[in-house]
């Protein structure tokens, strides 16, 4: 049995719940694909039409059943839209033509045509509209099941006095209708986003939910105890008794606190565009109360590739960057140049797939190789720089040559703009991400060539401890408080400060309140994090002094093992902030908590 296993997903519906897991069968089945004899084509079409009729009938039955239940109006409407799609003559004709043209069996035709439309939805920029592909997936699944004569309704038998956490691959609105809401205290799904219909309905019904957990159904067994945090989007499988006990009496307090954070989520301009907020630390910690979140510490320019699904033009780059810079001016925004590899956006760049993309031609390596793409981005950045206070950051630097070469591209672009008479800011700071161990080793050398450095902890931990991120068997090594990581962080901060440049940190560690005091103690100048984390981190900062933070950092460096550091930090933080550091603060700290 898995103990204290933390799985991360996305917040679907706020609230905290725990209980025995009730696993819904994922209903995995192979979709047959074959050609039929010409004389059978018409009977395939009949089979398809019957399945459409049956599917509509099932959905109507669900609606009728729901009429009797209070508060299910939204659900009825959504199920109605699913029915309407099954009545879309153009769609039905398209499927029938496919059956005729390909002499395809009905299941194959349904899958083929629905997949085609779903691919189209994938390209939609707006998250809400894009999530509608999930609806298509659910409709197509029902249709295929009915074509094949498989029972489409999930079998749900929850005991009368039981209250369970439902764990499912996906939940169609109609599936939700089959659940007895009085018996379901929380729901966790492998797929889906905040805007999936299921999440919207769960919010309307007030059932805490976490979506997009990927491995929820794989890691959970029916009967496992599951704690679900619908605010931050994580679940813990089989937490120990003392943890559960503490959670019980703290729940109300915890929920009030989390509510405050969850409400912050409703500022879409900050989170949806991939913007990240940051908190600055001038010499005096209390003064940061006034600072709040004013700057953008990391803008991931890959956002553009996501948006366009192709390489953006210089104008498209320019437009977005100008907008970002204007939005925070006169404060700065750090824009990171393209950080992509063969695992992401390979098609767009036309690069070959690699056996090990994490160690492959990616980020700055790829940009220097594909100079024209890089140049386009740099030109747009320079042109946009007149609209605010721009800082440029290069990702995945591993040698000084890369820094010099990349800065060379900036200089070339400036010369070009000069010739064309196009203005740009004369004061653009250029920095690097320190996330490869070689960059840590030569941090003092690199520091002399850049204006700032930012430690990217997610990648640094992975590279430093040689963890293959896709290999779960080594994921236990991923510990931000490993002495190796602490020493590396200190090395980089000291190297930066000796060269009189600022050192920032981004990555999950930077936004996790558990580590805040430690990081301030290391004298890191800037922590970059997602907006929802700022409140909690801020609170810790405001109630700490730099002296005690330094003391904690120094003592943390004296331990030999990750576990000892974790214990120490946990005790220190828990002693000072017992309420703040609730059990499920975030999946990463929860993991340490449970291991401690």
């Amino acid at each position: 049995m898995k103990k204290n296993l933390v799985l991360k997903g996305l917040p679907g519906s706020p609230g905290i719940a725990w209980g025995p897991a009730y696993l819904l069968d994922p209903l995995v089945f192979d979709i047959p694909r074959y050609s039929v004899e010409p004389s059978w084509v018409e009977s395939e079409i009949v089979r398809f039409r019957n399945a459409v009729g049956e599917s509509k009938k099932q959905l109507t039955e669900v609606q009728v059943q729901l009429e009797k239940e209070e508060g299910s109006k939204d659900l009825i409407v959504i199920i109605g839209t699913h029915k309407a799609i099954l009545e879309d003559d153009r769609l039905l004709e398209e499927i029938e033509s496919f059956i005729r043209a390909e002499r395809a069996n009905a299941e194959w035709a349904v899958k083929e045509i629905f997949d085609k439309h779903m691919r189209f939805f994938n390209k939609i920029k707006d998250e809400y509209l894009r999530e509608r592909k999930r609806d298509l997936e659910q409709i197509s699944k029902r249709l295929i099941q009915n074509t094949m004569g498989i029972e489409a309704r999930p079998k749900i038998e929850i005991g009368d006095d039981e209250q369970v956490i439902v764990v499912a691959h996906d939940l169609a609105p109609a599936d939700l209708a089959h659940l007895d809401k009085r018996k379901v205290v929380g729901i966790a799904t492998d797929v889906g986003g905040e805007a999936s219909h299921f999440a919207i309905l769960a919010r309307a019904l007030g059932i805490p939910a976490v979506v997009g957990i990927k491995y929820a159904t794989r890691e959970t067994r029916s009967g496992d105890t599951v704690i679900l945090d619908g605010f931050l989007g994580s679940i813990v499988i089989n937490p120990d008794e003392s943890t559960l006990e503490r959670l019980r009496w703290r729940k109300s307090r915890y929920e009030a606190h989390r509510k405050e954070l969850f409400d912050l989520r409703s500022y879409p301009a900050v989170t949806k565009d991939g913007h990240e907020a940051n908190i600055e630390f001038p010499e005096e910690i209390p003064s940061m109360i006034d600072h709040g979140v004013k700057t953008i510490a990391l803008f991931r320019s890959e956002y553009l590739l996501l948006t366009y699904g192709r390489l953006p033009t210089e104008e498209e780059h320019f437009k977005l960057y100008s907008e970002i810079l204007r939005s925070v001016a006169p404060n700065y925004a750090i824009i990171r140049t393209l950080d992509v590899g063969s695992d992401k956006f390979a098609e767009i760049f036309g690069i070959a797939l690699e056996a090990n993309p994490a160690l492959g031609l990616r980020a700055i390596r790829l940009c220097l190789k594909r100079r024209e793409i890089f140049r386009t981005q740099i030109r747009a950045l320079l042109r946009a720089s007149v609209h605010g206070n721009l800082k440029i950051m290069f990702p995945m630097i591993s040698t000084l040559d890369e820094v010099i070469e990349a800065k060379g591209v900036i200089e070339e672009a400036k010369a070009e703009l000069d010739r064309e008479g196009i203005p740009y800011s004369k004061d653009i700071k250029v920095g690097i991400m320190v996330e490869v161990p070689s960059a840590v080793a030569i941090a003092d050398i690199l520091a002399r060539h850049v204006d700032f450095m930012s430690i990217g902890t997610n990648d640094l931990i992975q590279y430093a401890l040689a963890i293959d991120r896709t290999n779960e068997r080594v994921s236990y090594l991923f510990r931000p408080l490993d002495p190796a990581i602490l020493r590396m962080v200190k090395t980089v901060v000291d190297a930066g400060h000796s060269a009189k440049i600022e050192v920032a940190m981004c990555g999950e560690m930077a936004g996790d309140p558990l580590y805040t005091m430690l990081l301030i103690g290391f004298l890191i100048d800037e922590l970059s994090m997602t907006v929802p984390n700022t409140l909690r981190v801020k609170k810790i900062i405001r109630e700490s002094t730099i002296e005690e933070a330094k003391e904690i950092a120094n003592r943390a460096l004296t331990f030999d093992k990750a576990m000892d550091v974790e214990k120490f930090i946990l005790e220190e933080v828990n002693r000072r902030f017992p309420d703040e550091l609730a059990e499920l603060s975030s999946a990463s700290s929860a993991k340490e908590l449970f291991n401690a």
């Binding site: 879309d88 153009r90 939805f121 920029k125 707006d126």
Partner: protein
């Protein structure tokens, strides 16, 4: 008869599924062929999926093209539906 008209999407959620359903329902009451054109995409107003695929957000303008005997009535009814936010509050 051919009628062309510009329609603005004014409801908060844009042309999501439910709105697309309302549009297709209304369009199907008319004999005229009704299409929406947005940038380079063209959608058949009688197809829910086709309309939803336009991914039209609040503020988007669609060109409606209706062709047939009752094109004029169809265009007017459609304009009313857009104005009524497809029956949504916001």
């Amino acid at each position: 008869m051919k009628v062309e008209r510009e329609l603005e999407v004014i409801n908060e959620l844009g042309l999501h599924l439910r709105a697309a359903v309302e549009i297709a329902k209304l369009a199907s009451k008319f004999g005229a062929e009704i299409f929406f054109i947005k940038n380079k995409s063209k959608a058949n107003a009688k197809s829910v999926l086709s309309v939803a695929s336009l991914a039209a957000l609040k503020g988007a303008t669609l060109k409606l093209v209706a062709e047939g005997k009752d094109a004029q009535e169809a265009a007017e009814a459609m304009a009313k539906l857009f104005k009524a936010r497809f029956g949504e509050e916001r």
